[in-house]
Symmetry: C2
Subunit: 295 residues, 2 copies
């Protein structure tokens, strides 16, 4: 019971923070979402690279964090204040720093070869985990940075309603999946992707789809989602499908590293990566659709 | 002797192709450098992910290749034909495809845990190599794509001379490093980075530095490198330092995977990645300097 209250309160506080920052204005968005991104990048690095080699890889992780922040901030400056898109190049320099700093990780330059079943194999020395720094940038920092692209209407006026609607559709997907998954899904049990997520069912997926599309239609009727009806429905479908896929992609990641929650920043909810796993895949696809294909 | 002739001829043909494409015009550049990039990405994936799991990872590798080509082509279209920079977003979609296709690699969802010295460790199942697909994009495709940024002068007229000059400075670095490294370097033997590259010496590095800067000054005097003297020298220094670092970064990569040459596309010269290892680090840094800091 106490856990339930803590979980509810921290979930509520987080929801208010996210919605509030989008409604408040561009700078509030940048501060709150930038901070969430930093936490998510940090969680991702801890999951994938472990904590054992923190000392050796601290420089590479720092460059990763600098690159993530540079990408997010410069994308925001380009969109919000009309900076030249070339400013995004400043995110490239710290990436070069990642590659160079790897040279100074001693264990990466110590190689052991062993024979397994007659085949020569290398013994892992940690080097194989370094590209997860690039994963932190492409999988975590890039989707967060792309959110800026839907924050302003064509005349350059701030309008967080589209991003807010996308967030609400993602939550609708979760709610619908929970409602149908925990009832019909448990009864009929057509499992969605058992090797990654044993509990997810097709019933839950379709519950999510119905709720996400219904959410899109209602948001449009309420005047928040300024798209045609067809585009609103398509975005609802995209958010649900890629949201579920994003969920599975993060589950696969965590399973591969034997981790249950991405972090413990939110009492009762795990980490930031867990909160945004669906968004990491769904938002980039939805944003591309809205920018290029919406009427 | 026969090897020497083959090596010389294939090196000469390659040099003519690279220089010729830059001089010929933007489309020739895009075709030749795009093709080189595709070969380099493919080599990089084979080195880092191995060839054993080719069947299982073919989809992820295909998405990687599509993302690389989309990045290169769209960057070129943005710079050469004034396309909206938003077109770069089309490189984001295939990246989402990489993440999703990983879900369908069976071995990634089979986990084995073993105990080593009382610590629980996971047995590698191949999943740990998947972020090298992102490495192929950030480490290989991005630097190639950024080259487009210095191909046009401020009035939009094609001028490959800066990229050509950067290429020549990189070759000057190699020549200078070879001349001083194989003579003074062998005699005095101040080793540069023995754990990665036992043969490289500080003498070779300074030989490269002198030649690269001399090259910059001469290229400037010849009217090819249209920068102030100070900027030309700075670019010469950047190309040498980051070229050598790029060389070491690729050596570290190859050593970690027990590979000598990145490929065998060029008789006697190894692969495309070997030809461009210095450029992968040196060009992005030089390009940022030229765009933002050159007078």
């Amino acid at each position: 019971m106490k856990n339930f209250i803590i979980r509810t309160l921290s979930g509520l506080a987080f929801t208010i923070l996210v919605i509030g920052s989008i409604l408040y204005g561009p700078v509030a968005f940048a501060v709150v979402f930038g901070t969430i991104m930093v936490a998510a990048v940090w969680e991702y690095l801890n999951i994938t690279m472990g904590k054992g080699n923190l000392g050796e890889t601290l420089l590479a992780r720092t460059f990763t964090m600098v690159a993530a922040v540079a990408l997010f901030v410069n994308m925001f400056l380009v969109v919000a204040y009309g900076y030249d898109p070339l400013y995004l190049l400043f995110a490239v320099l710290p990436v070069m720093g990642i590659f160079i700093s790897n040279m100074y990780v001693k264990s990466y330059n110590v190689h052991q070869i062993k024979e397994v079943d007659g085949k020569v194999e290398r013994v892992p020395n940690g080097y194989e985990t370094y590209p997860f720094t690039l994963g932190a940038l492409v999988y975590v920092a890039l989707p967060f940075s792309l959110m800026s692209l839907v924050l302003f209407d064509k005349s350059g006026v701030y309008n967080g309603n589209i991003l807010l609607s996308m967030m609400i559709m993602l939550w609708c997907t979760d709610v619908g999946a929970y409602l149908l998954g925990s009832t019909l899904g448990q009864m009929l049990g057509h499992r969605l992707f058992p090797s990654i997520s044993p509990k997810k069912s097709w019933e839950g997926f379709f519950g999510g789809l119905v709720c996400s599309v219904a959410g899109a239609v209602i948001l449009r009727a309420a005047g928040l989602l300024e798209l045609t009806l067809v585009d609103a429905i398509v975005v609802g479908v995209i958010i649900c499908i890629f949201g579920v896929l994003g969920d599975l992609v993060e589950s696969q990641l965590k399973r591969n590293f034997g981790v249950k929650d991405s972090g413990k920043i939110m009492p009762g909810h795990g980490g930031m990566l867990d909160r945004f796993d669906g968004a990491l895949l769904a938002f980039p696809v939805a944003i591309v659709y809205i920018i290029f294909f919406a009427a």
